[in-house]
Subunit: 331 residues, 2 copies
Amino acid sequence: MNLNFKTNIPALVDGILKGDRVRLGRAITLIESTKPAHQEMAQQIIEKCLPHSGNSIRLGVTGTPGVGKSTFIESLGSFLVEKGEKVAVLAIDPSSQVSRGSILGDKTRMEKLSNHPSAFIRPSPAGETLGGVARKTRETIILCEAAGFNKIFVETVGVGQSEIAVHSMVDFFLLLLLPGAGDELQGIKRGIVEMADGVVINKSEEERMELAKKAKRSYKNALHLFPLKKSGWSTDVILASGLHGTGIETVWEMIASYETFTKENHYFIKRRNEQASYWLSETIKTGLESSFFKNEKIKAALEKVEKEVLESKRSPFEAAEYLLKLFLNRY
Amino acid sequence: MNLNFKTNIPALVDGILKGDRVRLGRAITLIESTKPAHQEMAQQIIEKCLPHSGNSIRLGVTGTPGVGKSTFIESLGSFLVEKGEKVAVLAIDPSSQVSRGSILGDKTRMEKLSNHPSAFIRPSPAGETLGGVARKTRETIILCEAAGFNKIFVETVGVGQSEIAVHSMVDFFLLLLLPGAGDELQGIKRGIVEMADGVVINKSEEERMELAKKAKRSYKNALHLFPLKKSGWSTDVILASGLHGTGIETVWEMIASYETFTKENHYFIKRRNEQASYWLSETIKTGLESSFFKNEKIKAALEKVEKEVLESKRSPFEAAEYLLKLFLNRY
């Protein structure tokens, strides 16, 4: 990337605040870069965008591969841009670290939405760790909001850790399922169902309507067994088809009701504050561990100490304390 | 406690290695003490006992209150001491931090076993945190093994975090359930059922035999749905009565088969090594966070920085990095 960007930080920020998608894209490239100089610029841009961020609803969308997430998001996103909203679609895909972007990476996907002037679509950054990808996505949300995008989608796959990361950066967490008798729940961890603020049975099309209705009843029953959510909100199950656009308006009404409901009972801001605290403390924890294991004295001592622990020559507790003192320069 | 213990460390260690229960108890009191001088002595004793530890089977026992854990352990423990084994019973009870020991705290419990010369029973230490209690219990296991106890029971209640701690220090994890149609599973987190290497339907007495058999079938079916365990072992369900002593021998045969099976496929030593690594890395993590939050510079800065994050004046990531640099003396 051209390092002349450095002189253009005010221009980039200015462009972002005016909603310029090209400059927004360039700034996100800086966020995604691993070069320290780019990172420094990215932090300056984020700092300047922060006061203009937050005025949006952030939507997490998850579901196993094949459930039709992209088609569903394209359908809901198109519905929203036609209503005059500004839609950004981001993704967290841990597998993209290997396959370089299975989510949103295919340029033919979301073609209609991506060509709309009120939409901005960005594939998952290829970071080294889930934590790294999550951080970059959360920073990208700030820039998108500063650029005036007020409906932010974060897409992920139903594999566990990435859902937790997405859940901790969105206001509403939507789980997509397929029509069927509940067997699909086997493939989805129960914890993910518990996190959902809304469930959509996607691909509820005519030929699958009976199965879809049965699935709806069975999920509604299952959801009743979970404890009441901290938000006070009861998770609903909606039949929809991303392909045909049916049920999309109902899904949006549910999300809009949730926004009103949680803004009235102040859970909306409470959840955002908890998320900010979570990322603060998570980043501290990760940073502490990373500086510990990168420390030269620790690197020199660790292998021997681990061996002694495994051979019952040292207790793991005493060994840990020895290493901690070494790290904190007390030896 | 008398600080003259200091001069008696070799005598304490010598006593422990000879199986002297009084000296073993005194050394455990040092482990449980929060005084730095006692802690230092405890670490010296542990270090000397470590080479003599490990030659045992460590058994975790869990189940909701009322399932009859103490009666069951007394029954199985008595069976073992009569066979010539040496039995130690420890406990991890997070609630004891408030109530000062509901588990094993009642002296009238396990009366028969506690009077046997080959048994050693120790209530849950009253530590400040689960982490602290877990560490003290794990250190106590080392001392008990050095004293020749070869069947180590660690009892806990079915509430979540404490099970994970116990699971990470035992070779075999036993879940006690009550006769019934599976409804009890509601009260027990699914993760705990998945951790179990064996399930016992306790209180399977004549008047409840039909219910007990039904429960056994329903749990066996449920267990089939879980993925195969890393040990290669299939969790079995056994009907037993701690009160009448029925099924106790069958339970022991299951545990003994597990020991043989996992020693042959080398999972036994693999799990112990993983546990040692787990406690090493957990203690490092906890220690890093604790020194961070106790640091004077962090204490002085944290409140202001947190406020700035919540007011969107700083990003949580940038704020975390600022605090980390402060901690690591880079400002």
